[in-house]
């Protein structure tokens, strides 16, 4: 190209970009009279709630004036109004205390995403074509209402199924109430990395059907069995804040922690001691530690109910001597004894379990073992121990509570797997399916055949803002406002030592012709031929009713500060935390699971295939950027270097240098990862922080359709998963699949590493197998 042409091109593209950057494109030079008059250049901060994970962090949203493209009376133009500019953590919020993770901050791009749906759309043609046409809200609602009316007329009310994220909130409660009053089965929730096994174990051991809150700030020694508590597990921002206090403890003692896992997570990188064990043997190690403590009489606490669930506890766990556990886990028996003595000696000490440690066939038994260990250490509901966030008693939004009004029983939920198999077998014909905030077609193992099942449902309605794999099967998409444009709430089940409910009003008016899903639901309920009589006109009224039940000032205060929470008690370090003072919750759990044959005792893990044919354990893990893949469409997160590999815009498989050398695989080489269930091709990342017989893949990429930023990028390890089940808890054992590896070819540029050009070292890891 000639220099002159080049300069011309630059000038042209430069002008275009500058105009786009100002938000004023050619045909939009008309400025309409604004409805609101934000002062230019002056920022206003409004409260918000982050909806991206179950953490329920409070937000502080920066609102400033901007020129927004708009259409009035068919005329395109711009109008000045206040829009969100930046998300920060709310300083006073008891969960996150001012901090906010990378994902939460990138959440602003949900609102401004170029591929966001701007109005209701209806499918044209067959599902395979994936073609949609825009329709008006009137058309859309009347179509949904007529479908529901038909169900009611034909006595098929139980043929309505609802899929939700299941996060405790008033939004979820509204879906529950809608289903109950319509006569449909309770909404089914599905989250690949949700932790039903921990809830089940905590319910059995302690009577708390919820995830634990670790009082890390006061912990002196923490044992984490696989829980990536500083990255993606449970309530990460709350845990990072507490971790910081643990490291610079007011008492002057620096708390430490041991991470037990087979692949190093960012949490493992921060650990004082990293202890790799073979997948599925975490429970044995916990029982081995308990054995030593019992044998040497290192504690005096009566472990009570939690211990009574463990086989052989009364006899001192004879099957878990350090020697036997050493044989199972490969951890030297002297190290087991040392750890046990440290746990008993450095109190407060606590143990937690999460992530892959629970995703084996023996996951529930492992969780029960860790619970018993905690009880033995007297660290349950104690300062520096494992605590439980007190329930938000005003409402029913806490997981599975009794309804606000109406008096029906707490919902008994089915599972996604059952729903799919019942649709496929025709046992439970689903005529209408509502999907809110989940993408099971992407995140469920192939053997469940969720996509096929959903395709058989005559009428699928999605409330999503984007066309993902599940929404692509929808007949009707009624796009929701984003969390910045609507009333939003969360009732976190963990992450806070005081009872908390986050709530916030809209921070800005909606950009497009979208509608808040809770309000749509309420309106549909009113439009039905036999209205279902939900007692609120709007979602705002529902929230108001719930918060006002706590006291006259609570509602207005909650709107201003972004939620309601109990004042943190001024507890001296020796007192029991607040959760212990509350009456033990007696409510029935949200998802009661039948345990056949009683509580499982620890057994060696089972895998889907033999080691001869499939020599490697496959460890899929939640991507630090995308979690279960639901955030893969945000450009900031795509370009965020992964903390352990510096990879951007990529999917990869991590393997040990020895493994790589043996298979003649080098950094970036294309590798075929194959299981009984399927196969994917991804570039290799050679990492010293992984066991030689384990390969790990981040979940999140590999979307077939999920906006311009994520579609067709990388591979999805969920497509390799065998439908293994955690024994005693009806949950997917997502770490129980075995795979084999074959080198396919040299690097093809799919693995993009920031470290190769952007860091002080040219390779993320400079050891054997890392050459390129």
């Amino acid at each position: 190209m000639e220099r002159r042409t080049f300069i011309k091109l630059t000038a042209v593209s430069g002008t275009g970009a500058a105009l786009a950057g100002c938000g004023v494109s050619e045909p939009a030079l008309i400025r309409f009279v604004p409805d609101e008059t934000p002062a230019p250049g002056i920022a206003e901060w409004k409260p918000g709630v982050c909806p991206l994970c179950a953490g329920g962090c409070g937000l502080s949203v920066r609102i400033m004036a901007a020129d927004v493209d708009t259409v009035r009376n068919g005329q395109r133009g711009v109008v000045r109004r206040g829009v969100a500019k930046k998300l920060e953590g709310a300083a006073a919020h008891p969960v996150n205390g001012g901090g906010l993770c990378a994902r939460g901050q990138a959440g602003i791009q949900l609102t401004y995403h170029p591929d966001r749906l701007t109005q209701p759309i209806r499918r044209v043609g067959s599902r395979r074509d994936g073609q949609f046409e825009p329709i008006t809200w009137d058309q859309a609602l009347s179509e949904l209402v007529s479908r529901l009316d038909t169900l009611a007329t034909n006595g098929q009310v139980r043929s309505l199924a609802i899929l939700t994220s299941g996060r405790p909130s008033h939004r979820q409660l509204l879906f529950d109430q809608f289903a109950a009053r319509f006569g449909a089965p309770a909404p089914i929730s599905y989250n690949l990395f949700d932790e039903p096994v921990v809830r089940r174990a905590n319910d059995l051991s302690f009577g708390h059907d919820q995830l634990p809150t670790i009082d890390l700030a006061r912990t002196r020694l923490l044992l984490s069995f696989g829980a990536d508590f500083l990255g993606t597990w449970n309530s990460p921002v709350a845990q990072m804040a507490a971790y910081a206090r643990m490291r610079r403890n007011p008492t002057g003692v620096r708390g430490s922690f041991v991470q037990i896992e087979s692949r190093m997570t960012p949490t493992g990188a921060s650990a004082d001691e990293w202890l790799p064990v073979p997948p599925g043997t975490e429970g044995a190690l916990a029982l081995g530690l308990a054995h030593v403590i019992l044998k040497e009489h290192l504690t005096s606490a009566p472990p009570g109910r939690a211990a009574s669930l463990i086989d052989g506890w009364a006899a001192g766990l004879p099957d878990f001597t350090p020697e036997k556990v050493s044989a199972m886990t490969g951890v030297p028996s002297a190290r087991i004894e040392r750890l046990a003595r440290a746990l008993a000696g450095q109190r407060p000490a606590a143990a937690i379990i999460g992530g892959p440690a629970l995703a084996h066939t023996n996951g529930l038994a492992a969780a029960l073992a860790v619970n018993a260990l905690n009880a033995l250490l007297d660290s349950v509901d104690q300062p520096g121990g494992v605590c439980f966030t007190p329930p938000f008693r005003a409402s029913v939004a806490s997981r599975g509570g009794a309804p606000l009004s109406g008096g029906s029983a707490p919902p008994i939920r089915g599972t996604l797997q059952t729903l799919a198999s019942e649709i496929l077998s025709g046992r439970h014909p689903v005529e209408v399916l509502l999907v809110d905030g989940v993408n099971p077609v992407f995140a469920a193992p192939p053997a469940w055949r969720v996509g096929e099942a959903l395709s058989r449902v005559p009428f699928v309605v999605s409330f999503g803002s984007f066309i993902d794999e599940t929404a692509a099967l929808a007949d009707l998409i009624l796009p929701d406002h984003t969390f910045l444009e609507s009333w939003v709430d969360a009732v976190p089940e963990s992450g806070s030592l005081v009872a908390v409910a986050s709530v916030a009003p809209p921070t800005m008016t909606s950009l497009f012709q979208t509608r808040a899903t809770p309000d749509v639901l309420l309106e549909v309920g009113r439009m039905l031929r036999q209205p279902i009589g939900l007692p609120w006109q709007t979602f705002e009224a529902m929230l108001k009713a719930s918060f006002e039940a706590l006291g006259p000032e609570v509602w207005s205060a909650a709107q201003k500060q972004g939620g309601w929470w109990e004042e943190p008690p001024a507890v001296p370090p020796t007192a029991r935390p607040v959760s212990a003072r509350l009456p033990a919750p007696t409510r029935p759990p949200g998802r009661r699971i039948a345990v056949s044959g009683g509580v499982p005792s620890f057994a060696p893990p089972e895998f889907d295939a033999a080691a001869d044919d499939f020599p490697f354990h496959l460890l899929p893990y939640p991507s630090p950027s995308f979690l279960d893949g639901s955030l893969a469409h945000l450009p900031w997160l795509q370009e965020l270097p992964d903390p352990m590999t510096s990879a951007m815009w990529s999917a990869w498989v991590e393997l040990h240098p020895q493994t790589a050398e043996r298979l003649h695989i080098q950094l970036g080489d294309l590798v075929r990862v194959e299981s009984h269930a399927g196969a994917v091709e991804v570039p290799a990342f050679v990492s010293p922080g992984i066991a030689p017989d384990v390969v790990a893949m981040p979940v999140g990429q590999g979307h077939v359709t999920y906006t311009r930023y994520a579609s067709g990028r990388g591979a999805n390890p969920v497509s390799l998963l065998a439908p293994m089940v955690v024994s005693g808890a009806d949950a997917l054992a997502w770490a129980a699949t075995r795979v084999k590896l074959t080198r396919v070819g040299p690097p093809d540029g799919r693995l993009v590493l920031f470290s190769t050009a952007g860091e002080l070292r040219e390779r993320p890891y400079e050891g054997p197998g890392a050459r390129r």
């Binding site: 950057g21 910081a244 620096r254 960012p266 903390p643 815009w649 050891g767």
Partner: protein, 230 residues
């Protein structure tokens, strides 16, 4: 005495979560470049988290280190700039005047920390992503070098506010976006000329060290090394 802004990063608290990286993108209108340009080393992250593996399995350790412009007192990037685009402010910041920059990229070559980024193209935000742009920070054009400013817009705003209210700036009143966002409060920002500021106090810690300090660049960012269990 003028302020002299500095930062302390406690590696004992940093969890490598990269909240700071996204915060920086949001605050400073840093464009994403896409996979193809990123593969050519053109991704821009004014702050990044580096990882250092030590040892062999199973005794592996990883250390995270957030790396941003070290705001050197003897900055190698400044004397090489032919147009004085890269210069030292009175408050000790290594500032970049985008309008002066002619894109020689000498500064990026001179910087030992790899914290300067060149705009190979004019940045583009696909509508309506442009609505998230921070009006307090100018968008850089193609051919211009950009870098961490210690969020100079936040510093200036706080200084103007304090002056208008006729009061001294309080320690901790200014938090660059990375410092504000850090869930683990691993970063502290403050005036190094004020011996009582928390940043000054922590910078004197025996755990403190400078990144590539032996180059004589005199960084104003201090790293507090990780500690071992008692």
């Amino acid at each position: 005495m003028p302020h002299r802004w500095g930062m302390v990063v406690d590696l004992d608290r940093c969890t490598g979560c990269e909240a700071c990286v996204t915060a920086c993108h949001a605050e400073n209108n840093i464009p994403t470049v896409g996979d193809r340009q990123a593969a050519r080393g053109r991704a821009m992250h004014w702050i990044r988290v580096e990882r250092y593996f030590e040892g062999v399995f199973p005794d592996v350790r990883v250390k995270f280190r957030p790396v941003l412009c070290q705001q050197c007192d003897a900055a190698p990037c400044e004397p090489v700039c032919p147009t004085y685009a890269s210069h030292h402010t009175e408050e000790g910041l290594n500032a970049q005047v985008y309008n002066r920059c002619i894109g020689t990229r000498y500064c990026a070559n001179a910087c030992p920390y790899s914290v300067r980024f060149f705009n190979f193209f004019n940045p583009a935000w696909e509508t309506p992503l442009h609505l998230q742009l921070n009006p307090d920070v100018s968008v850089r054009e193609g051919g211009v070098m950009e870098k961490c400013t210690f969020c100079v817009q936040r510093i200036t705003a706080a200084e103007i506010q304090a002056k208008a209210e006729r009061r001294e700036l309080k320690d901790g009143a200014i938090a660059p976006a990375c410092v504000q966002s850090c869930p683990a409060k691993a970063m502290v920002f403050g005036d190094l000329n004020d011996p009582e500021s928390e940043a000054s106090r922590l910078a004197r810690s025996p755990r403190g060290s400078k990144l590539l300090g032996d180059l004589g660049t005199q960084p104003k960012v201090t790293y507090l090394e990780r500690q071992s269990p008692v």
